[in-house]
């Protein structure tokens, strides 16, 4: 029977699941688009795992990503970790002496500085999502190019066009003007890659000492145009790990392994959870002027979790009940 640790990363754009053995080898990985339906996608992913492996023992589960709390409620995780820590752990697993990790996802971009195997500094984009995967997605649509061909297109260019990269909206108007002037599509694509990298280095990477080895992970690392632009801008080799797109999930799996070694048991509910029916209900609490948006999740009619209230009026009820049931 296969014994694996499961890592789940529920991000804004993609939900990733990996299965990892005791020696940190990845045996299965799944990259799914979240499309705003994290629970459905999670169920689908776990259902596929159940179909694929007849006999599978999940030794432990770690969850990360912006949807980690939700994922924890659904699957029963052993550890819930933020993306920075998960990415750092996964990056250290690939290159033990890595000193800089560049991670660009759908809505987030981060830089993690590691010295002597310890995270010493990090930064994330602020409230704005410019310079992330969503920015490239939008501009690829505007150019009429499939996002998966975007990088190749950029590599064909010998003469990039300068495009304003501070803001996706600015970039769009600048790009349209350049298109109207008759610039080649490949030149514009390369210009966009450079704009994204410039924006990243000037905002997220501002004042950070980027030292090699550099790892580039996250969904955007698939784009060879961006890889090339980073290489040129930094003047150093930029390594893209084999599982660049699921590094967060790998980090979560490694952290779960550590956690389970300590606790000796897992909270995982079992792969059959994908057959359960989950209902999510949102309502506005009128108890006070805060008008909190409360969310409740039911599993086959049984209340699993409630959150979103500031005062704890709704989220505490369920804790009490759980306590009584126990």
């Amino acid at each position: 029977m296969a014994k694996y640790y499961m890592g789940i990363d529920v991000g804004s754009v993609s939900t990733n699941i990996v299965l990892m053995d005791d020696n940190n080898n990845i045996h299965y990985k799944k990259y799914l688009r979240t499309q705003g339906k994290p629970i459905e996608v999670l169920k689908k992913g776990i259902g596929e795992i159940e179909d694929k492996f007849d006999k599978l023992e999940v030794l432990g589960v770690g969850v990360t990503g912006s949807g980690r709390y939700l994922a924890n409620i659904i699957v029963g995780a052993d550890i819930v970790k933020n993306e920075i820590t998960a990415h750092a752990v996964a990056g250290l697993n690939v290159i033990p002496d890595v000193r800089t990790i560049i991670e660009i996802g759908g809505q987030d971009s981060k830089i993690i500085l590691i010295r002597d195997k310890i995270v010493t500094d990090f930064a994330m984009n602020t409230v704005c999502a410019a310079g992330t995967g969503s920015f490239l997605d939008r501009q690829a649509i505007r150019l009429g190019v499939d996002i998966s061909d975007f990088g190749k297109l950029a590599l064909q260019s010998k003469n990039s066009v300068r495009i304003a990269g501070r803001c996706a909206v600015f970039a769009e108007s600048d790009m349209i003007h350049k298109q109207q002037l008759g610039h080649k599509q490949s030149d514009i694509a390369k210009g966009l890659c450079e704009a994204l990298v410039r924006n990243y280095l000037n905002n997220v990477g501002k004042g950070k000492e980027i030292l090699p080895p550099v790892l580039f992970q996250g969904g955007v690392a698939a784009n060879i145009g961006i890889r090339q632009a980073f290489k040129e801008a930094l003047g150093m080799e930029v390594h893209v790990p084999e599982n660049y797109d699921v590094m967060g999930a790998i980090g979560a799996a490694i952290l779960a392994k550590e956690e389970v070694k300590k606790t000796g048991r897992t909270n995982f509910k079992g792969t059959s959870l994908h057959k359960m029916d989950y209902q999510v209900n949102g309502f506005e609490c009128n108890g006070c002027s805060n008008l909190c948006e409360v969310i409740e999740i039911k599993e086959d009619g049984k209340l699993l979790a409630r959150y979103g209230d500031k005062c704890g009026k709704w989220s505490n009820i369920i804790n009490d009940r759980d306590f009584k049931l126990a």
Binding site: G67, I84, L92, V119, E258, K262, C288, N290, L291
Partner: protein, 333 residues
């Protein structure tokens, strides 16, 4: 029936509420405060205010709107300068005018000008001007102010001794009010920097101080640093800082960073803040020189807490990781 004065719970409310309340009490004026910021207040504020303003100014508009039908006067002093040769943020300079421009149906606004740039004597003028709305007896006004100011000073000194500011008290258990607390009961000490109206408004900062406290972290705020000490450290800047709040934030941060009295710095800034754009960079550089971890949290109208939580968690993880706390993390690569 007593005359009612409304005090909007925003901007300098968090600094001077005790002073103002006491002053008006002494003049036998009824003080009506707007409630803590909530979604209604935020929404009305955002709708009423000009688009380019920062979040706390928008929220302030919401508080004024809440009060406008409930009181005879609204107290919105025009803070130009609080210290010789220094200025407040331009948004403070224009606050009563902005409000007047954007909100209809206001009662009379008491927009006393506080301008101590050239001399502290202007303060007396401002006090008298404010009091005259309620009494013609200047001695009574000055007495009311002196008593209130004494009380206010006592409170400020308590904060300098390490007492958590009153706006944060709700976040803390009563034991945290004691000054001689056991420092070892905290895992980490974090300096939560930023303007009072961001740091103490638990709605717009999504309960940040409480989130830190729940992780067993001692929160220190700018107001808890002795102003004289902050000013001394602010002198180390190559150029004199001409914003009073810049003096406090940068000087306060420098003092704790240089003394290595904190484990990390979190700078809380409202998106688009002009002062912060300078201050946070100065603090970040100083923190880096002294190898104290620093992070920036930007707030705007967002109410989704996922982004803020991730950043706090990652920051605290990093502080612990740096300790070489190997029980929590894999030791191998």
């Amino acid at each position: 029936m007593r005359v009612k004065v409304g005090i909007p719970r925003g901007m300098f409310y968090h600094d001077y509420y005790l002073l103002w309340k006491r002053f008006f009490d002494n003049l036998e004026v009824e003080v009506v405060m707007s409630p803590k910021t909530n979604r209604d207040i935020l929404n009305t504020g955002v709708q009423a205010c000009v688009d380019e303003a920062c979040l706390p100014v928008k929220v302030f508009h919401g508080h004024v709107d809440y009060l406008k039908d409930k009181v005879d006067y609204i107290f919105i002093p025009k803070f130009i300068s609080l210290y010789r040769g220094e200025y407040c943020c331009p948004k403070h300079l224009g606050l009563p005018d902005m409000v007047r421009h954007s909100i209809d149906g206001l009662p009379q606004i008491i927009d006393t000008e506080v301008n101590l740039r050239k001399s502290n004597r202007r303060l007396k003028k401002a006090v008298l001007e404010t009091g005259r709305y309620f009494t013609n007896n200047p001695r009574k006004i000055l007495k009311a102010f002196d008593e209130a100011y004494d009380k206010y000073k006592q409170y400020v000194r308590l904060m300098w001794q390490g007492v958590i500011p009153i706006d944060l008290v709700g976040f803390y258990d009563s034991q945290h009010l004691k000054t001689n607390e056991n420092k070892n009961s905290y895992k980490k000490r974090i300096l939560l920097l930023g303007h009072s109206y961001n740091v103490y408004d638990e709605y717009i900062n999504m309960n940040l101080a409480n989130k830190l406290k729940n992780r067993n972290i001692k929160v220190i705020t700018t107001e808890m640093i002795d102003e004289e000490i902050a000013r001394y450290y602010a002198l180390k800047l190559p150029k004199r800082m001409f914003w009073t709040h810049g003096q406090r934030i940068v000087g306060g941060a420098f003092s704790l960073i240089e003394k290595k009295a904190i484990d990390g710095v979190i700078y809380l800034s409202a998106f688009g803040c002009g002062l912060d754009s300078v201050l946070m960079d100065l603090v970040e550089r100083k923190a880096k020189e002294n190898q104290i971890p620093y992070t920036l949290l930007t707030i705007d109208e967002h109410t989704g807490e996922a982004g803020l939580n991730t950043r706090i968690e990652a920051f605290i993880d990093m502080l612990e990781w740096r300790d070489g706390d190997e029980t929590n993390f894999p030791t191998h690569g």
